[in-house]
Symmetry: C2
Subunit: 226 residues, 2 copies
DNA sequence: AAGCCGGTGTGATGAAAATCACACGAAATT
DNA sequence: AATTTCGTGTGATTTTCATCACACCGGCTT
């Protein structure tokens, strides 16, 4: 049981695989390390690799010509990406960047499709994840189409609270592990209006702004503002 | 070989199935008809049915409380919908409405999952479609996040030209089978600004506006405007 | 034919948010 | 310690677009 196999078993996709199967996959897999801000996948490029995060954090972003970027998703250990281009052979649909030093497991297209054929339940698991991502995408579309910046920010904070918030006496503590600019890109606005939107929510008494985190003091209020 | 089976074989998902298998599915399937504007799926409701269009046209929409709607997708015969709620048991993620009198094939959750287990290649096909939809969704997000109304309209017209445009001497003829309001909802704006955006594109010499269609006279120009 | 009505263009107004400009502080560099 | 750099708040200005208001047209009903 080497390092890869241990890593592989951690991935929900493969957690039901037998020792022997893991070994097969492990032989076809490699590990790569990326520095902070290093680009793992370039949008529009061809690529035929499947990635699963061992350690670190990546952001999935869309960007336009003049460098503006929109953060579609932030992925953590055990989550995977790069499967889309594998399924249909089309160019990468988004850019993926390491948000901190990150270690990923890389699978080739052949091995990926190989396993997919051998293990129908793998297909179902991936379908589930694709389904979840499609739902999220629809929600993002909805919020971009219907809500103003404050509403979208409220939604983002609620998401963050759900994924990494810690309940405290005075409310839910939401750590902000990114710059204001990145938070703005997550919400889909500019840094300046993000600042103002934060102040607005604070003046409504829903949140308290700290340097490195936000305390949500009135979750119901936030939800209502969405 | 009854009516259902013929219809089923038309669906790309099932086109490789044997006579016998089609029969099994057909026994579990029913056909439903919907009037124009009838709601087939209500967002947020629970549901455990899978639909495949036999004839007609449906629109997949997101809408907010006060009735504004955003058209995510328009589906035609042989395409399917309703699979998301089946995969994860969550509420419906969007509303689906018949755009014209429409006939659909309905499969129950059990039968759907049943077939999915028996036929791994079905899973792969569905993954492909989910993948394609995810790509489209990302494009929609991109355009909402980065482009102005004119750019989004240009993109929509290009899409429409690709899917149902007819090449002519003076350009590509794009039929508009929906009202201006619907086109606006497809672009993600209001009827009024859609009108103005159409005029803008026309005054740039990229398109010619007709009642029931638009002639794209300068595709390159349109693409540049995106 | 008169009248009604849904779909449509168009002008005026206002609100939201992008953009531009700059000041400030904290961390990093030398 | 001095200075550069980066992330950040904040004010002023401008742009885009939603909204409101209304006029117009073609097809309907009666």
């Amino acid at each position: 049981m080497n390092r890869f196999q241990t890593a592989l078993r951690e991935v929900p996709l493969f957690n039901e695989f037998s020792q022997r199967e893991l070994k097969v996959i492990a032989q076809a897999a490699t590990v790569r390390r990326y520095e902070k801000n290093e680009v793992i996948i370039h949008k529009l490029e061809r690529g035929d690799t499947f990635f699963s995060i061992i350690d670190g954090r990546v952001k999935v972003i869309l960007s336009d010509e003049d460098g503006k970027e929109f953060i579609v998703d932030v992925l953590k250990p055990k989550e995977f990406f790069g499967e889309l281009a594998l399924l249909d052979g089309e160019p990468r649909s988004a850019t993926v960047v390491a948000q901190e030093p990150t270690e990923v497991l890389v699978l080739t297209r052949e091995e990926f499709l190989n396993q997919l054929k051998k293990h129908p339940e793998l297909g179902i698991k991936i379908m589930r994840v694709l389904g979840r991502r499609l739902r999220r995408a629809n929600q993002r579309i909805e919020s971009l189409a219907f809500m103003d910046v404050c509403g979208r920010l409220a939604g983002t904070l609620i998401d963050l609270a759900a994924s990494s918030g810690e309940k405290q006496s005075d409310g839910v503590n939401v750590p902000l592990d990114f710059s204001r600019t990145e938070l703005a890109n997550l919400v889909g606005t500019t840094r300046e209006t993000l600042t103002r939107a934060l102040r607005t929510l604070q003046s409504m008494g829903y949140i308290k702004i700290k340097k490195k985190f936000v305390v949500v003091t009135n979750m119901k209020g936030l939800e209502g503002r969405m």
